[in-house]
């Protein structure tokens, strides 16, 4: 039988170390909502989301009370809208109508974010998908809950450089469109390479075309728990350090597995995956940067950071796979700047640069995330940064992502303040040498040699 010290350990994690279920995300297929009439498509989408996710929030709250663990977010991901709307949407305005429909449905069922205003363009794009891309700035401006993502490359197909170049413009246009709200629109737009179909975390969640009718994916998080556990490993050797991270990751993931199974059963929807990601929030004690410091760095960005992060990410995965047979999504460590007080401190101390963050993305689970850049950065430069990050993903067979926020009207040293979970971001310097002739070439970068595994 469970003993008192085990009970205390679990409750200590929940009450003092910010262990929580970060999100229960219901993936919903919208394929059967496709219609050539825009009005019918809108009605089908709205009705299906409300029908499938009507009890999602209530279920999350019930689970939270039963186990005494916070379930912070209840969210929805849907089939990429570029595809769902390809028959009905003849203009950018038509696609924006679908974004508004998603927003309304999300509001009706009580979720704070809905992901899937997305397009899958790894190898090429249809004419309608170009129309869709052009609709993103307006869609993110006029909606509050909709998140957008665009996959522009994969290890299997190479990188669609036309889409990368276009996204350079779209990222800047999105920031401009939401000028006045701290360019928040750009915080809800992610550019991916190797985007996973089952990621429950926003802003990059969508219900991939490989998925079934609907699914429950759960994201658990607890950087504070890992940090606390590592306090006992000060001065210890690497074996002890790794063992400690692994054991902690195991315990955290088991909670996710329990919650995912329970939610799936209560909602009568199949369980998909548990995503164990150390996802920081701006709250004190909920920081991945603090883990890196506990491992032995003065600030993230110091020499040794990439190695420390590689070790952390790998041990998190090793602990996680033992805890659940279906670990998926992005599982690993997230390194957003604005959402992690320790990362913000490192940038402000001059320890962490964009180039070092890029190196860190080679070994962690996502990419350049929630980074504010000067408002006068050119679209070509943004495309160049995206291309670099996509190349890292393509060559290393991993997911990479870019979520940059051009801070319109601001320069290096200014601060963007989003508030809430998005935190605040100091505007970081960007290498200003030109890459125009490179990113303006047409076509795609071929798939890497190791893609040929047939």
């Amino acid at each position: 039988m469970i003993n008192i010290s085990e009970v205390n350990e679990t409750n200590e994690m929940i009450q003092h170390e910010n262990l929580d279920v970060r999100t229960i995300t219901m993936g919903i297929s919208l394929f059967d909502c496709i219609d050539s009439s825009l009005e019918n498509t809108k009605k089908n989408i709205y009705d299906k989301i409300c029908r499938k996710a009507g009890r999602l929030v209530e279920t999350g709250e019930h689970i939270s009370k039963s186990y005494g663990i916070p379930v912070v977010n209840k969210r929805i991901s849907v089939t990429p809208i570029a595809t769902v709307g390809s028959s009905a949407c003849k203009s950018e305005e038509d696609y924006v109508e679908l974004a508004k429909t998603l927003d309304k449905a999300a509001e009706n069922v009580g979720v704070n974010l809905i992901g899937g205003y997305s397009a899958m363009l790894a190898k090429g794009n249809t004419d309608r998908e170009i129309v869709f891309l052009n609709s993103i700035p307006e869609a993110l401006k006029v909606t509050a809950r909709v998140c957008s993502s665009v996959n522009v490359g994969s290890s299997r197909t190479g990188i669609n450089m036309d889409a990368v170049r276009r996204m350079g413009d779209i990222v800047i246009d999105t920031a401009r469109a939401s000028y006045g709200t701290e360019s928040l629109g750009a915080a809800k737009l992610v550019v991916f390479c190797n985007a996973p179909d089952d990621n429950p975390f926003m802003a990059g969640a969508f219900h991939g075309i490989t998925e079934g009718e609907s699914v429950i994916n759960v994201g658990v998080s607890g950087p504070g728990v890992v940090k606390k556990a590592l306090e006992s490993a000060r001065g210890a050797d690497f074996e002890f350090l790794c063992e400690t991270i692994k054991k902690t990751a195991f315990k955290i993931t088991r909670v996710g597995q329990l919650v995912a199974r329970e939610a799936a059963q209560m909602l009568g929807v199949p369980f998909g995956i548990v995503d164990l990601s150390l996802a920081p929030t701006p709250a004190i004690g909920d920081s991945v940067a603090d883990i890196l410091k506990e491992i032995g760095l003065e600030h993230p960005g110091a020499p040794g950071t990439t190695a420390a992060l590689a070790l952390l990410n790998d041990q998190v995965k090793k602990g996680g796979v033992m805890a659940s047979s279906y670990v998926g999504g992005l599982s690993g460590a997230f390194i957003p700047v604005s959402e992690d007080q320790g990362m913000i401190d490192a940038v402000e101390a001059g320890a962490l640069t964009l180039e070092k963050l890029e190196a860190m993305t080679c070994v962690c689970s996502v990419g350049l995330d929630m980074i504010a850049i000067p408002g006068d950065t050119s679209a070509e430069t943004v495309a160049g940064i995206i291309a670099d990050e996509m190349a890292i993903g393509m060559i290393n067979n991993k997911t990479t992502a870019v979520r940059l926020i051009p801070a319109i009207g601001m320069k290096v040293g200014d601060k963007l303040n989003f508030g809430g979970l998005f935190g605040y971001a100091p505007v970081m310097p960007v290498n200003s040498f030109a890459c125009d002739r490179f990113v303006n070439r047409k076509g795609r970068i071929p798939a890497p040699i190791h893609s040929f595994k047939n």
């Binding site: 039988m1 008192i4 205390n8 679990t10 009370k65 039963s66 005494g68």
Partner: protein
């Protein structure tokens, strides 16, 4: 059988156990195991109990235990046992 873990945390004083146990007895909740320690000067008690047929009343019991705790200045939590099992047992 629906096992739950009830934890009580607060400043030690006369009658904490009596109050909690009386409430559980009145509500037909069977105590299976009790242990207690003092953590940094605070009373720390854990019970494993069986809610049996009463599991539909979990929410009511949770609210009433919370109120009972507030009345005597301690924190009383009730959680389903599975979360501890999952985390600490293979």
């Amino acid at each position: 059988m629906q096992k739950v873990v009830i934890t009580v945390l607060g400043k030690d004083k006369v009658g904490i156990m009596a109050k909690v146990c009386t409430y559980l007895a009145d509500n037909g909740i069977n105590i299976l195991d009790i242990s207690q320690t003092i953590v940094s000067g605070y009373f720390n008690m854990m019970m494993i109990a069986d809610m049996g047929e009463k599991q539909d009343e979990f929410e009511k019991v949770r609210t009433e235990l919370d109120e009972l705790g507030n009345g005597i200045g301690v924190q009383v939590r009730i959680q389903r046992e599975d979360i501890f099992d999952m985390m600490h047992r293979l």
